[in-house]
Symmetry: C2
């Protein structure tokens, strides 16, 4: 009888292994690891700090290495690879599927991957070189070459005989590809068609003309095609329509998650591959660039306030209220920025509708401006018993909300045109704009009207 999954299953497993390691029960831990699927071992490694990672890896059978390495995230994998004996590593790499082999090699330092390539046998070196030649983030980089191809004139019966002799079909195969004698792709035949067709049907009658993916296509684009058309696999071709390999949904799922996470991580100034359990110093160092940029923008905002030192020294209440307008502008602008970045990722934003979109966000900024200007004016008029001060902050709020809507919508669209990642740079530039505009509008108007 099959088991059903328990929600707490993997947490319990993790706990048991950690307890085992802590108590020095290495024999038991080794046994537990032997019974775990590779993906669970990978999750266990990713959920452990570096010390436990090294212990777990040492207790793992070496024939599990390649499967586990395939499942690990880049950062964790590289940490482990750096401590492996080169021969064992080369053995593990040779057993990998082409796409995982290529990905692993490309994430290693040039010198290391070159050494590894040299120690591989020719066939493995060739398939790795081919994948690497297409460059990261392309269809060629994530494709597999273990494709079964058919000829159009053969009958279903002959194919079934061939498959029974062959005895093995690569993982995640839902379609066989049909090619002509020059290896040019004609189309695909679904496995389900082979099962339901009469034995004497020629393959060509079962072909579904399917679109092929050019080997140079960006992997994010590949992922959105899979998502849109609900594919399980797709053929990859060169510019002359020669079949080179296929891409399967399991790799695409990883890209979809990574792309969706990328925006969130970048907007907080984190590297996508940042490992939750990385050592303290490594993490501190990695995050410092972003904090440095943030300090710079905070100093810029301070420099704007500095221009109004005279005003601030005369009216301390302005110093107290000085953060409100920038904060609201930042929050509203961030909403717009996030929405537009997601819209671009989903393929909804195009040159044809981006002007309309900017106009819409500008209008929202305007109405938000009215709402929050009225509200803050009332709050300040009551709190500080000063109508004029309320009017000043309301005016600044109005200006900054419109600026936030405009900047939040324009920045990502403009950055994408310039090939700058809007998730990474967008939020810093946006905050700088809303800070500077907010402070300038508030203290400027105050200097003019209240002093």
């Amino acid at each position: 009888m099959p088991e059903t999954f328990e929600s707490q299953h993997s947490h319990n497993q993790l706990q048991a292994i950690n307890d085992g390691l802590g108590a020095g029960m290495f024999v038991q831990v080794r046994q537990m690891l032997q019974n775990m699927p590779a993906c669970d071992v990978a999750l266990l490694l990713e959920s452990s700090r570096s010390k436990s990672r090294a212990q777990i890896w040492q207790l793992l059978e070496s024939d599990a290495y390649s499967d586990v390495l395939e499942e690990l995230s880049e950062d964790v994998r590289n940490g482990i690879i750096r401590q492996m004996v080169p021969e064992k590593l080369a053995d593990a790499l040779e057993e990998m599927d082409t796409d995982d082999l290529v990905e692993t090699l490309s994430s290693l330092p040039e010198a290391v991957s070159q050494d590894l390539l040299n120690s591989m046998d020719e066939q493995d070196r060739n398939r790795a070189d081919l994948g690497l030649s297409y460059g990261e983030d392309t269809a060629g980089f994530i494709m597999n070459t273990d494709t079964i191809t058919l000829r159009p004139e053969v009958s279903v019966e002959v194919i079934l005989r061939y498959l029974r002799l062959r005895g093995d079909i690569p993982d995640d195969t839902d379609t066989f590809y049909v090619v002509n004698r020059h290896d040019k792709l004609i189309g695909g035949v679904a496995l389900t068609k082979l099962l339901t067709a009469a034995p004497d049907t020629p393959i060509e009658n079962l072909i579904k003309i399917s679109e092929a993916i050019p080997v140079t296509m960006d992997d994010g684009e590949v992922a959105s095609l899979f998502e849109r058309y609900d594919w399980l696999s797709a053929p990859v071709v060169d510019e002359h329509n020669h079949l080179l390999g296929r891409i399967t949904i399991d790799d695409v799922v990883d890209i979809i998650r990574e792309d969706a996470e990328h925006s969130m991580m970048s907007m907080a100034g984190l590297d996508d591959e940042e490992d939750t359990f990385a050592p303290v110093f490594k993490s501190t160092q990695r995050r410092s660039v972003w904090l440095g940029v943030n300090l710079f923008t905070a100093l810029m905002a301070a420099a704007v306030s500095d221009m109004f030192e005279e005003t601030l020294s005369q009216l301390a209440v302005l110093a107290i209220l000085n953060t409100i307008v920038p904060s609201m502008g930042g929050a509203a602008g961030n909403q717009t920025l996030t929405l537009v970045i997601r819209g671009m990722a989903l393929g909804h934003v195009s040159p044809g509708n981006s002007r309309w979109l900017i106009g819409k966000e500008l209008a929202i900024g305007f109405f938000n401006g009215i709402i929050w200007a009225l509200l803050i004016a009332s709050v300040i008029a009551i709190w500080k018993q000063d109508l004029m001060l309320g009017a000043v902050i309301a005016f600044a709020m109005m200006i900054n909300m419109v600026a936030a809507g405009l900047a939040g919508a324009t920045l990502p669209i403009a950055m994408k045109k310039l090939n700058i990642d809007p998730a990474l740079a967008g939020s810093v530039i946006l905050t700088t704009i809303t800070d500077v505009v907010g402070i300038f509008a508030f203290l400027g108007t105050a200097t003019w009207l209240l002093i």
Copy 2:
């Protein structure tokens, strides 16, 4: 010959249709729509503003309705459904797969979905009621019931004859499920096994015991199992192991994207389903709750500054520098918060390692504190020619960075225990903490040492 995909393909299509609508060439647009796959029509609708959406929908053939509705995001779909004639809507719903039918009904107002259910024939009403009974975000809600089941004692040859007679296999089938006479799940047989096995092999020899998904499992958990084990489909069972249906990867891909997007959208205070092209007033209203919360926290920060009005009025330079420490705390805390939220989503954070994780982030906060305290002290000492002022801001920076690390790691872990969504509430509470602690530390120390 199959076509390869052009990057600009869908944007061009969108442009052509928009141009056609603008020029009133409805006959041509209708023809273009007829030749488009449902998923492309859905993308077109999602990329258009409401006015064009209504026009495009009117030009669409009614037999395409159900396929297009299945592909649309919730917000856009509900907008269109609200304008459809009830009879046409009921027709479209009856043609949907169970999972899409259930999802559509559940997103409609109770009264509307009840009317629709009543107008359906009994069979469709029953399958909808069953799915709805499991509740949103469960395995039962996203499963399909179109499963082909086999008996263990039958031979491959008999199955192949049966399949040829049947002639049709449901979409995305990679595995047939084997059940005993009480409909209890025994395991699965991959389609590839049927193709490679000798005709006289009994099915029971080909069975792979696969884990089954309990019908009440949370859909996010289902998605991470699919991702971890690279499944294409999985059987769903009740508590007595009766086979109820199956879940396929195409639905899981949507959940993976939605879950990953959810954190990003929530952290900016947006609804996941927020439609990029929603009308201005609807968007303004939706975003106002978050801005209201943000205004409240900004006023709280102002109230803290207000406690130091006397100090601020004596030293205007404090007003100028007052935003730097809160800003750095916010940025550092947000990095920690984002990393922990992602770690929880990936299943890396568990009760067994969360204490270590909090300790790690606290340590990073401490080292970040030292680095940025030293740097800001030097900047201020040079800019304002005041060593003591540099020391004050450095001390406040130190305190706030530690507070940011602690709050950023503790908040999401505590919120998850309390079943509060950390992505939505986490960033507001974090900002409030880093603002209040930052201002208090800076102005408090300044009052004590400089006045």
